[in-house]
């Protein structure tokens, strides 16, 4: 008797009681997500059409004037170039470096677990702390210069953070310091998913380590590598904390990024409309890159494409 009634109830659940249940479960997440993520992005698009200091009524509609001004501003173009430099260097140096270390830690080495833990540790240290410490290390006649003159490389010391032609590379170095461990862990996980038999088979067929790496390991690591590259691109486009604290975007804008430029206009000069337009640009670039990357690169992977993850 009871079981019949229960069965009837379960059958009814999918039909009538399902929607309130589903909505109830989704509500808390959707509510804060819409309020704090989606709505601000939409509002940002709206504000980008106004000349607005964030306080007065939103009335000075200027159309695309903000965008015109931004693209006419050489320091924004400079900031974009800096993001591009960081991006290219990350892909050309940081990811290969991380890959090399992942391969290294995939060997049977003593203390492998310890090294893995240490290499990942900078990722857990905040960008602010990283920036403050490296600013001290790199200051004129600071630790770095002392070490360099200690090993007789005195002639190579530089104004690491004060020379506009060098500062961006110093920033990139610190970005790598903080983030290579993250990519290394990703790639290491990818390497460990490759069955050892495949490499053994290649070795039995007489392939050298390099050949095996080039023709077996690397292709199979493709999906992980592409995710790593993707995260690196997004991270490079949105770089902020580290630069803001370490150099403030200076000297003379030489290490500005799009995000530091945006914060400078938004919160120092209180041009909320103008800064929103900058954020729309950063948002747009990220979105286009992400969609293009997903369309042309990630699509090749059976799994791992960002928006179909888990499907």
């Amino acid at each position: 008797m009871t079981s019949v009634r229960v069965a009837a109830r379960t059958r009814r659940t999918p039909g009538q009681r399902r929607w309130p249940m589903i909505i109830g479960f989704l509500a808390p997440a959707l509510l804060i997500y819409l309020l704090f993520v989606i709505y601000p992005i939409a509002q940002g698009i709206r504000y980008s059409g106004y000349d607005w200091n964030g306080l007065k009524p939103l009335t000075d509609w200027v159309g695309f004037e903000n965008f015109r001004k931004i693209f006419a501003d050489s320091s924004f173009i400079g900031a974009m170039k800096h993001n591009a430099v960081i991006l290219v260097l990350s892909l050309a140096l940081q990811i290969p470096f991380a890959l090399g270390l992942a391969v290294l830690l995939n060997q049977r080495l003593r203390g492998r677990a310890f090294m893995r833990m240490m290499f990942f540790a900078p990722y857990v240290v905040s960008e602010v702390v990283t920036a403050v410490v490296w600013r001290q290390l790199m200051r004129p006649s600071g630790f770095l210069d002392h070490v360099m003159s200690g090993v007789g490389a005195e002639g190579l010391t530089q104004e690491w953070l004060a020379n506009p032609r060098i500062v961006l590379y110093s920033v990139f170095f610190v970005v790598t310091w903080k983030y290579f461990g993250f990519h290394m862990i990703l790639l290491l996980a990818g390497l460990q998913q490759i069955p050892a038999e495949l490499r053994e088979a290649a070795a039995i067929d007489g392939a050298t380590f390099r050949q095996t790496f080039r023709h077996v390991t690397l292709p199979l690591l493709g999906p992980t590598l592409r995710i790593s590259v993707f995260l690196s691109i997004i991270g490079s486009l949105q770089l902020f904390d580290l630069v803001w604290v370490m150099t403030g975007g200076g000297p003379i804008n030489a290490s500005n990024t799009m995000a530091t430029y945006m914060i400078d206009w938004g919160f120092r000069r209180l041009q909320i409309g103008y800064a929103s337009a900058v954020s729309v640009i950063v948002f747009g670039i990220s979105l286009v890159v992400a969609l293009a990357y997903q369309r042309w690169v990630l699509r090749r992977d059976v799994k791992g494409a960002l928006t179909t993850m888990g499907a």
Binding site: V37, V125, S126, E127, F143, H146, I185, S286, A290, M309
Partner: protein, 293 residues
């Protein structure tokens, strides 16, 4: 005899040759690993030891061990009310972020993984879309929204948006885990009269403890380290978190580098200790979440 002994070692030598070369590459591998290890440890050690130096030592010889060891920097910071105030602000915000994101993400991931309904994939895609955008991109309009709902200078004004921005990764990590729990379990529970919510709370959540702790750990670390959002939301210095305190301290005491290093070191200790304790969750969560989903 001689020829024999010679020919015998020869075979061994070919094997030995490989071994030697592999031993050489192994030495090389260790050298590289140690060089990288040094690159990681030295800056951290510099900060830790720098806190034990006097200003004079720091400018004259920042490389060797402190001589003599100076304890006043750390002592000063630790007796400083502001440090502990900022410490507890950071802890409170990390705690709030976590207790917001855990139920919100797990409830959503639960229905997104175990029920099929119209629009499910669109909602899931809407959440994954947030993976592309850390808070930086939305910060200017987000500030306006937080001001509109009167949460400026309020821990909730940091914790709620942080929870919202943590949802995408959390849901992406949880969904496959929830999916892997057999449907028979739910059917059996339903026959015993267990509704969806009770199933979620009494069966799903206890089974999902590993993934929940991963989400919690990520939320705590991210919140502890977050800078931009608290920077724009918390203008009153009594509400500041440690990252803001560190930057402010380092601009306020530009000349007293040793003290800045002591403050900085003390602010990173909790994160590093936490990492030592929860390394597995942090590593697996941050990497697997990004790859697998």
């Amino acid at each position: 005899m001689t020829a024999q002994t010679r020919s015998k070692p020869k075979v061994v030598t070919t094997g030995g040759y490989d071994e030697i070369s592999s031993r050489m590459t192994r030495v090389l591998l260790y050298l590289i690993a140690f060089a990288v290890l040094a690159m990681i440890i030295i800056p951290v050690a510099f900060a830790v030891l720098g806190g034990f130096r006097s200003m004079g030592q720091l400018s004259e010889n920042p490389v060797s061990l402190p001589n003599p060891w100076v304890f006043t920097n750390y002592a000063d910071v630790l007796t400083l009310g502001t440090f502990w105030k900022q410490f507890s602000n950071s802890a409170l915000i990390a705690f709030l972020t976590t207790i917001f994101v855990l139920p919100a993400a797990s409830l959503a991931a639960f229905v997104l993984s175990r029920y099929s309904f119209r629009g499910r994939e669109s909602i899931y895609t809407l959440f994954t879309f947030g993976l592309l955008f850390p808070v930086t991109v939305a910060i200017v309009p987000l500030f306006v929204v937080i001001r509109q709902i009167n949460l400026l200078d309020n821990p909730l004004g940091v914790a709620l948006p942080q929870a919202a921005f943590a949802l995408p990764l959390s849901i992406v990590i949880m969904r496959p885990f929830f999916r892997s729990i057999p449907a028979e379990l739910e059917e059996a529970a339903a026959i015993d009269g267990c509704g969806p919510f009770r199933f979620y709370r009494s069966i799903m959540l206890p089974l999902s403890r590993p993934v929940l702790s991963t989400i919690a750990v990520i939320a705590i670390v991210t919140s502890w380290n977050s800078f931009l959002l608290p920077l724009v939301v918390l203008s009153d210095s009594t509400g500041w978190t440690l990252p803001i305190g560190v930057t402010n301290f380092s601009t306020q005491y530009t000349t007293d580098t040793a003290r800045v290093l002591a403050f900085t070191t003390l602010s990173m200790v909790p994160a590093l200790l936490f990492y030592l304790v929860a390394e597995r969750q942090i590593v697996s969560g941050l990497s697997a979440g990004a790859v697998k989903g």
